[in-house]
Amino acid sequence: MRTHSRWTPWIYLAPALVLLGGLLLYPVYQLGLISFLEYTQAQVSGGRPTSFQGFGNYAALFRDGQFREVLLTTVLFAAACVLATLATGCALAVLLTRVRALPRLALMTAALGAWATPAVTGSTVWLFLFDPDFGPVDKLLTRLGMSGFDGYSWTYDRYSAFALVLLEVVWCSFPFVMVTVYAGIRAVPAEVLEAAALDGASQWRIWRAVTAPMLRPILVVVTLQSVIWDFKVFTQIYVMTNGGGIAGQNLTLNVYAYQKAFASSQYSLGSAIGVVMLLILLAVTLAYLRLLRSQGEEI
């Protein structure tokens, strides 16, 4: 191989690093900085000087009962979304391996359609499906004998609103899991499975001893991706519960930070919430990297 100059990789990397430095790293630094300042409309317009608050904003945040509740809600909601998405995606991936070409194509196509749907339109469509006046779901449930759903408003109650958002999130994110896991199952060499079957291993044993271990890295990846995506759900909550639900009952951290900053001009509190999210996701990522390393994977 021709010897390259020491600088060649850095020249190739330069555009990416400049963009990421300016529009990701620097904003992250700014986010941290603002979270330590007093930064409201008065400071933005230059009416009052900014003052350093130390951890004052964070202290205020953790004293705030609503913040603690939103934090807990976000963790639980993300966990529910991740579990539901993974269960659906994996189950359907296994199902895909058991069927002939035509049903497989039908399911794949439907899933790709859901995957491709923008979050905004997905949210509006699901909202319409569950609309108390004109949506088909309430009418269908009523017709099936559940009269309690006649004109039932899903977004009025806190838990049914979250359930509705969860359904939409699972709908648009299970295809990624399904397609990836399916590709992973298909990548298990047929000879290995054949050898195991010839040795008299049962289906369950083949799954336990051959397929599952080979799928492990893939499962780790899709789990991590799901955690990251679901922890940051913004559009669905914002559109479906109209900015966080009645009296903020459906707020998650992301939406809460946005509302604090742009609706009530408390930029420093919004930034502090952003930092908390950042730290949580960073912890998840580091745990993931350690997991990869302990499995002897090279990146």
């Binding site: 963009l19 300016g22 700014q30 986010l31 509006t124 499906l129 709908w171 590709a183 742009f262 952003g274």
Partner: protein, 287 residues
């Protein structure tokens, strides 16, 4: 695998296929309902008995959507922003992925970890500092300040890069090193190898990767909402969609028609690249 054609097995497969078809129908239903409601006359959309068909399809809802002031303009804005982001981030990510797969250098692993960590950053949280950054930058460079399309393009390029680099690595690595050596033996320059040989070979992967940058940009409504403060002529589609939500009663026909208009380009893009997407994901997670 050995095939046994027992009756139980056959029924098992039929049950699985029935389940697959049923699931497909359930998953596809929201999209079907979206298109159907867009084509229903208004009386049927806002009627008491929603039916899963329509006897009098009409394009009224679409007319209302395109009759809305500047809707076509929003559509073009969305296309322009997403198109620019796709092209620029593909080229930049290609260069970066080449650097981290084809070269061994100090800080390579650190950089890779940073690309991974960068994907975790909650973009929404950065809206606050980005807002101030773009406001200040606009004073010096007119095209990227608040209220411009540049203020949507630039952050999206940056945010789609880490994942694109991460995913492209597999495609770049798949090109054999012997090819590179042969090219240099034939007297090719580094630039020539990069653009004439490596780029075309990695192109399928670039297309697969670009789906993600296209979708995240096309879908975005937070940046459009926050950075386009007053210049509504620079708004994008998601904003136009929300116009149909009204206090006195939502125009569901209009919302569904606008949703259809917004979903179709993504669907088309997806269908075009879906094969490569599936193999691309396989490559990205296996390596």
């Amino acid at each position: 695998m050995r095939r046994r054609h027992g009756a139980g097995r056959r029924y098992g497969r039929l049950a699985a296929e029935a389940a697959a078809l049923l699931t497909a129908a359930v998953v596809a239903f929201p999209l079907y309902w979206m298109v159907l409601s867009a084509l229903k006359p208004e009386g049927e959309v806002l009627g008491d008995r929603p039916r899963p068909w329509t006897s009098a399809p009409s394009l009224d809802a679409f007319r209302r959507v395109f009759g809305q002031q500047d809707f076509a303009r929003y559509f073009l804005n969305s296309l322009l922003v997403a198109g620019t982001v796709v092209v620029v981030s593909a080229v930049v990510a290609f260069l970066a992925a080449t650097a981290v797969t084809r070269f061994r250098f100090r800080f390579r692993t650190t950089l890779l970890v940073m690309f991974l960590v960068a994907q975790m950053v909650p973009v929404e949280a950065l809206t606050i500092p980005l807002f101030f950054l773009l406001r200040d930058a606009g004073a010096y460079v007119p095209g990227i300040g608040l209220n411009t399309l540049g203020s949507l393009i630039l952050p999206h390029i940056a945010f789609s890069l880490p994942f694109a680099v991460w995913m492209l690595r597999g495609f770049v690595r798949a090109v054999p090193e012997t090819l590179e050596e042969a090219a240099y033996l034939d007297g090719a320059t580094r630039a020539r190898f990069l653009w004439r040989i490596l780029f075309p070979l990695v192109f399928p992967g670039l297309v697969a990767t670009s789906v993600f940058s296209f979708i995240s940009t096309w879908n975005d409504f937070l940046f459009a909402k926050s950075f386009i403060v007053s210049a509504t002529e620079n708004s994008t589609l998601p904003m136009a969609l929300l116009v149909f939500f009204k206090d006195e009663g939502n125009d569901w026909g209009g919302i569904m028609a606008a949703s259809t208009v917004m979903t179709v380009p993504v669907l088309v893009f997806f269908v075009l690249v879906q094969r490569r997407l599936v193999s691309g994901l396989g490559g990205a997670v296996k390596d």
